[in-house]
Symmetry: C5
Subunit: 362 residues, 5 copies
C-alpha cells in the first residue's frame, strides 16, 4: 500500500520549477560513479571517487577516438547530479527529470548534440508477492559519450553490458555511443520479459485454481495481478513512443548502422505491451469464470438444502399427524397402521428422489 503513497510525493509547492529535488524513497548510500572508455582497441573501467578528479580529461588511447560511458549509480544526491550536469552543460530541467523518480518515460532532443532518454526499470521486490517496483533510469547521449543514471537500490543493472565490453571485441565495442545506448535500453527491455514471465506463471496458477473451482480468495489475487499489470503497462507503454521517436527523428547522434537495432528494440517493446494486454484480457475473463463458479457453487448448496427440505418436511408432517392426541383417530387403532405409514413415507421419499433426479438436481 505504501507504494502508491510514495509515488505521489511531490515537490514543495513553494519550490520554483527546475529546482533539483529527489522525491524517491530515502536512501543512505552514496552515489557511485563509474567511467568506462573503450574503442575497438582498448577498454578501460574506472571507479570515480573524487568528482574534481573526474573532470580532468585523460586520453589513454592517444589521438584515437573512443566512447566514454559515465554510469552514475545513485540519483539522490543533488550535489553530484549538479556537478555532472555542469561538466556536460545539461539543462536544469533535464537534471530535474533525472532526479524526479516520478517522471514518466520520455525522450527529448535538447539540441542536436544531446539526446535525453528516461525509462523505468522494473523489478519484483519479493518474487512471491508480485509487488512490482520500478527504478528510474535516464540516459544522456552525446557525440562520443553516454551518461547513464540509475537509482542506487538493487545494484548496478548494467553489469551484463560491462561484462560484454570486457569479454571481447564484440559488436558493442565496434560501434559508437549510440549502440551502447541501445545495448543498455535492451537490458531494461529484456528485464520486462523476466517480469512478464513471472506474471505469466502467476496467471497460469490462478487459471488452474479458478477453473478447477478451488480458490476462495482468487479474486483478490486476480485484482492484485490486474493492478500490477496496469501499473507495468503505464510504465512500459511510453517506451514504444520513445523508441519510435528515436527511429524517426533522424538524429545525427544515431547512425544508420545502429537504426535496425532500435527497430528490433521497438518490436520487443511492442511485444511486451501486447503480452500485458493479453494478460489483462485473460484476467478479465477469469473474473467472469470465477463469478460463475461462485454462482454454480451457490446453486449446488441451494439444491442440497432444497432436497433435504423437500424430503423431510412432508415426512415430518406425516409423523406429526399421528402424534396428535385426538380421542378419535381411526388409523391409530389399525393393526398395521404404523407400517402403512412407513410405507407411505418410503413411497413419498422415492417419488421425490426420482423427481429431483429427473430435474438433474441430484
Amino acid at each position: 500500500m505504501s507504494r502508491r503513497r510514495n509515488r505521489s510525493k511531490r515537490k514543495n509547492l513553494l519550490t520554483s520549477p527546475g529546482t533539483l529535488t529527489y522525491v524517491g524513497p530515502e536512501i543512505e548510500l552514496h552515489t557511485h560513479l563509474k567511467r568506462v572508455r573503450y574503442n575497438e582497441h582498448f577498454q578501460e573501467e574506472k571507479i570515480i571517487h573524487n568528482l574534481t578528479a573526474f573532470t580532468e580529461p585523460d586520453h589513454p588511447s592517444g589521438k584515437q577516438p573512443h566512447v566514454t560511458w559515465l554510469d552514475v549509480d545513485g540519483i539522490h544526491e543533488p550535489k553530484v547530479i549538479e556537478q555532472v550536469g555542469q561538466y556536460y552543460r545539461l539543462h536544469p530541467l533535464l537534471l530535474e527529470d533525472i532526479m524526479n523518480t516520478e517522471q514518466k518515460p520520455k525522450v527529448e532532443a535538447y539540441d542536436d548534440q544531446r539526446l535525453f532518454v528516461t525509462l523505468k526499470m522494473l523489478h519484483l521486490d519479493n518474487p512471491n508477492t508480485l509487488d512490482l517496483n520500478f527504478e528510474h533510469v535516464s540516459f544522456v547521449l552525446g557525440p562520443r559519450y553516454l551518461l547513464s543514471f540509475q537509482e542506487e537500490r538493487t545494484g548496478d543493472i548494467f553489469v551484463p553490458v560491462i561484462e560484454r565490453l570486457k569479454a571481447s571485441v564484440g559488436k558493442t565495442r565496434r560501434h559508437g555511443a549510440d549502440y551502447l545506448l541501445f545495448a543498455l535500453m535492451d537490458v531494461v527491455v529484456d528485464n520486462y520479459f523476466l517480469i512478464l514471465e513471472k506474471f505469466g506463471e502467476q496467471l497460469d496458477a490462478l487459471e488452474d485454481s479458478i477453473i478447477s473451482g478451488a480458490g476462495q480468495e482468487s479474486l483478490s489475487e486476480l485484482y492484485t495481478l490486474k493492478r500490477e499489470l496496469t501499473f507495468a503497462r503505464r510504465l512500459i507503454w511510453p517506451l514504444r513512443d520513445i523508441i519510435n521517436q528515436l527511429i524517426r527523428d533522424d538524429s545525427p547522434l544515431i547512425s544508420p548502422q545502429v537504426l535496425p537495432y532500435f527497430r528490433d528494440l521497438y518490436d520487443h517493446s511492442m511485444q511486451a505491451i501486447e503480452t500485458i494486454d493479453a494478460y489483462r484480457e485473460l484476467v478479465a475473463s477469469l473474473v467472469e469464470v470465477h463469478l460463475s463458479t461462485l454462482s454454480n457453487r451457490m446453486n449446488e448448496v441451494m439444491k442440497t438444502l432444497t432436497i433435504f427440505s423437500a424430503i423431510f418436511m412432508p415426512l415430518t408432517f406425516i409423523v406429526g399427524v399421528y402424534g396428535m392426541n385426538f380421542d378419535y383417530m381411526p388409523e391409530l387403532r389399525a393393526r398395521y397402521g404404523y407400517f402403512v405409514v412407513w410405507g407411505v413415507m418410503v413411497a413419498i421419499t422415492i417419488g421425490l428422489a426420482r423427481y429431483f433426479k429427473w430435474k438433474k438436481w441430484m
Copy 2:
C-alpha cells in the same frame, strides 16, 4: 447533490450571446485587484481599490521594461470585468468566457498580441467527503503583461508565486510574462496532485476494506469516488490540449527559453490524467472484487443454513416417528429402543458432518 444543479445553471434564453452574466454560486464579497510589477531589478505589489486610479500608467523603473501582472480575485462583478476588459481592449466573448464559470478549459489566440487561457482549479471543500469543487481561473497573456482572473472563494491561490517573486531574484523574475503564466499554471497543476493524493489515500482505504471483506457500504463510496474522478478528469483532460497548443502554436508571446517549462507542464498534466485513469480502472476492479465478496458471503450464509437444515431435519423426523401414537409400534416397547434411536441419530449426524467436510462446506 446541489453541486450538479448549480453547474447546469444557464444564462437567460432571452439574453443575446456575449452579454456578461455570472452563472457561478452567489458571492457577497467584493472583487480584489492586485497589481504586481517586476523585473530583475525591482518588484512592486499594489492593491488597487479604485479602478480609475488603476488606469493611470506609472513606470516606477524608469525606462527599463518590466512585467505587469494584474490579479483579479473575483469574477462575479460584471462592472469590474468590463472595466478591465476596456482598458486592455478584450473581446466581449472573451470577457464572457472569463465570467462563465461553466466554460470548459481552453486556449484561444485572439490575435498575435493576446493569448487567452482558461482552466479549472480543483479543491476539496471538506477533506473527508471527497466532494470535489472547482474554481474558474482565466489568464490573458499580452506582450509584457499577464492578467489573471479567479473566483473569490477560497482566498488567493497564487500566493506561492507572489511569495517567490518577493523572496529573491529567481527564475520567475528573470523571465517575462510568459514564464509567469507558466508559474501560475504550474500552481494549478500542482494542486491537482494534492487532490489526487487524497483520492489515492481514499482508494487505498477502500482497497483495504474491500479486500479484507469488511465494508458493507463500500460500493456507494466507490461510486462517489468514481463520480468525482470522472468529474476531475473532465476538468483536467482539456488541459493537455491547451498546453500542447501553447507549445505547438509557436506564438510570439512565448519565448523559446520558456517552452521547455511548458513541455514540463505538459508532462505533469499527462501524469495527472494517467493517474486518474489508473484510479478509475482500480475502482472498476474493486467493484468486481466487492460483488464477488458479496457472493462469497452469501455462499457462506447459505452453507450454514444448509448444514443446520440437513442435520436437524432428519433428526426431527426420527423423533417425530416415535412421537406417533399408534397402538402397535413394536420399537416403543423395546427395552433399549430409546438408546438405539439416540445411537442412530448420532450416527446420522456424524455421517452428514463428514459429508459436508468432504464437500468443503464446513
Copy 3:
C-alpha cells in the same frame, strides 16, 4: 414505445429518390410563413398568407441592404416547401432533407451562395416522463437572406430571437444573416441544456434513491434514462461536426466577425455532449450500485432466515426427543427434567446468538 416505430417509417420503395415526402407524425395544421426583414435602421415582420404575394419583392428600406429571414413553420406540406424551393432555386435533394424528419443533422454547401444546415430541436413532451421528442429544424443561408424551416408542433421556437430583433438595435441587427443563423442555432443549443438539466435532476433523484437503497423499480428508470441519453447523444453529436465544418470551411457566407460566435457555439455543443457522456457514465455506475444493493439485501434476508433456522431447528429437535413415546426414557421420569431441558435450550440459543454476533450476521 410508438416513438421508435414512427421514426423508422420510410418512403415507399417505389418512389424515386428526391421525391418530396413528409415522413414525420401526421399534422393537421397549416404551414405558417413569417418574413422578417431588418437592418440597423429598420425592422419589419410580416405573416405571409398568400405564397404568390410572397414572391413579389418589396424593398422597404429603399436602396439600403437588409437581411431577409423567412421562417417556415411547418414542413408537412410538399406544395409549400416546393414553392419556397422554386423561389430560392433550391436543389430537390435539399428540399427532401428539409421535409425528411428522419434526416440526421448535417451541413452542406450546395454552392458558394448557399449553405444548408439541419439540426434537431429537443423537447420533453411530458416533463415527468423524460420521454424525449425532437423537432426537425433546417436552415438555408444565402448572401443576404436566411430561410428557417421547423415542424409545426410546439409553437415557434424562434420567438426569443424575434423578440430580441424587435427589442433594440442589438448585436443581431448590426450583423448580417450569418449572425442570425448563429442566433437561431444558439437557441437550439441552449434548449439542449434545459433538457440536460431535467436529466440531471432525474439522475440526482435516482442517485439518492439508489444509494439510500430504497428503489425497487430503479433499474427500469435507469434504463429509460440511459435510453433517452443515448437518443439525445445521437441527435446532438453531429452538431459538433457541423459547427466545426462551418468554422473551418471558410465559407464566404460567414464573415470573420461572426466566426468567434460560432466557436463559442462549438464549445457549448461540446459541453452538452460531455455532460451527456458524464451522465451516461454515472448511470452505468448506478446500475452497479443498484445490483450490489440487491445482493446486499438478499444477503440480509438470507441471514435472517439462517439465524431463525439455526436457532429453532435444534430446539424443535430437542422438544421432539421428549415427545417420543418410548416406554423407557429415564429423563421423562426425572423430577426436574423439564426444567433441565429448558436450561439446555436457553444455553443453546445464547451460544448460537453469540456465534452469529461474532460472525457479524446479527
Copy 4:
C-alpha cells in the same frame, strides 16, 4: 446453426487463386439474364436465353446513345459468369469476387473505365425468427453500361427500379448508368431499413416484456437479437466506406450531377449503422435490466421463504414443547394453559409480522 457453417465454406486449398468457384448454398435453378436498354426516348427490356445471341450488338435507337443494363440473376454457374466476363473483358479476380458469396462488400476501380462494387442484400427468411440471411450483389459500372449480379434465391430484387424505368421518363431515364447504379444501391439500402424496422419491433416487444418482468427466456432472445445485429453491422459497415470512396475518388464514371445522390445514400447508410449501434446499446442495457429483474425476483422468493420460516419455526417449537411427555410439566395441568399458549403464539406472530412490515419485506 447451419448458417455459420455454410458461410465459412472455402475453396479447395489446391485451387489456384482466381479460379471461379461458387461457395454459396447449392442452387438448382438456371441463371436468368435480362438486358434493359433505355434513354430519354425509348426503353426496352429483353430476357436473354442464348448467351451467344446476347453477344450480337443491336442498336435499336439508331445512333442515339443509350444505357445498357445487364441484370444477371444467378451467380452459381461459372460458365455463364465467364462468358459475361469475356464479353466485357473483366479481370478474373473480379469474376471470382462476383461469385464468391463470402466476399465482403467493397469497391474497386479496375481501370478508369470500370468500377466494381459488391454489397450484401439483407432479408429475413422467416419474419418471426429474425434469422437474418444475405444475398451477394455485385455491380460493374462501365462508360454507358451497368452489369448487376445477384444470387438466384429470392426473386429479382431490382424489380422496383425496372418498374420505375418502364413507368415514365423520370430521373432514372434522364441520367446515365451512374444514376442507375445509385438507384440499385438505393434499393439495397432501403431494404436495410425494412430489416431494421423488424429488429426495432422485436426490441420493443422485448423491452416491454423485460421491464414488465415477465419473460423467462428473454435473455436467449436478446442474445439472438444481438447476434443478428452484430451480423448485420458487419455486412452494412463497409458500405459506408464504399460510398465514401465513390464520392471522393472523383471517378470519371460518376458525373457531378449524380454525386449528390450518392452523398444522400451515404447519409442513409450512416443512419442504418447508427440505428444498429443504438439497438445494440439498448440490448446491452436490457441484459442488465433482465439480470436485475432476476435478482429482484429471487429476493422476493427468499423473503417469502424467510417470512414463513420465521413465523412458523417458533410456533412449531412452542407446540413441540407442550408435546413433551415429562412427568412433571406444571403448565400442562393449568386450567387455561392451552389458551395461554395460543395467546402467546398469536402475539409472536403479530410481532414478527410487524417486524417484517417495518423491514419492508411484506
Copy 5:
C-alpha cells in the same frame, strides 16, 4: 499451460543482440532444404543435402530467366541459417528474426533488392481441444528468387503450391517470384480459415448447450475459446498491416500484375480478423446468457424450496398443536375434531397452491 511458458523463453541476457539463437521448442530433426526452379517452360525440384553443393549455380534452362525458390524446412540449426544467409548476403538481424520463433509478424524492406516477411502459421495440435499452436514462417523475396523458412514440425506446409507448380503451367509458373510469395502467403491465410471453422463449430456447440441451459462447465470452455481467439487475433492482426504495406510501398520487387492478388489477400486477412472479432463478441454475449441461466436455475430451486416450506410449515405447526399434552384441550375431545383438522389443512394447502400459481412460482 506449458505453451505460454515456452513462448516467453528468451535469449540469455548476456548474449549480445544479433546473435543467432533458436528459442522455439526443441527439435531433433535435421533441416531439409529444397530448391525449386521454374519458368513457363520448365520446372525442377531438388533436395539439397550438401550445403556447399547448393552454392554451385547451375542454369538448366540455358539463358532463359527462371525463378528460384529455396524452401528451408527447419530453423533450429544456426549453422544452416547462417550459411544460407551468407550465400544471399542477409543482415544478421534478419537471420535472428528468421530463427526467433517469438518474433511477431512483420514486413521489412532491407534494401531495394530484398523484402523480408515473417508470419505465423496456425494449426491445432489436437482438433478436439482447440489448443492452438503456431509455426514461425519467414520469406525473403529477392529479384528472381524467394527464400522460405518454416519450422520443422508438422511437415512441409507448402506442399499444395509445389503440387500446383508441378501440375501444369498455371498462373504460378507464368508469374515471377512475387506471385510465388503471394501463393505461399495465401496458403497460410487459407489455413486460418480452417482454424476459424473449427472455432465456429465449437462456438455453435457451446451456443446450443448454453441456450438449452444444459452445460455446467460451459464457462470454462467459453474461457478457453476466448483465450485461443485472443491468441489467434494477436498473431493474425499484424498480417493486415503487412499486406497493406506490401501493397502501398510500391516496391520494385512486386509487379503491378501481382498487386491485385495481394489486395485479394488483404481482403481475406481482414475477413479472418472480422470473423474472430465476431466470435469474441458472441463469446462475451454467451457468458451473459450463461450467467443469467445460472440465476434462473437458482430461482427455480429457491421457488421449489419456498413452496415446500410454505406449505408444510403451517401444516406441521397445526399437527404440532394437537400433539400437545394439555389436560384441557376441548378440540381433542370433539367427535370429528380429527377430520376437521384434516379439512383445515387441505384448505390451507389449496389456498397456498393457488397463491403460488397466481405468483407464477408453480
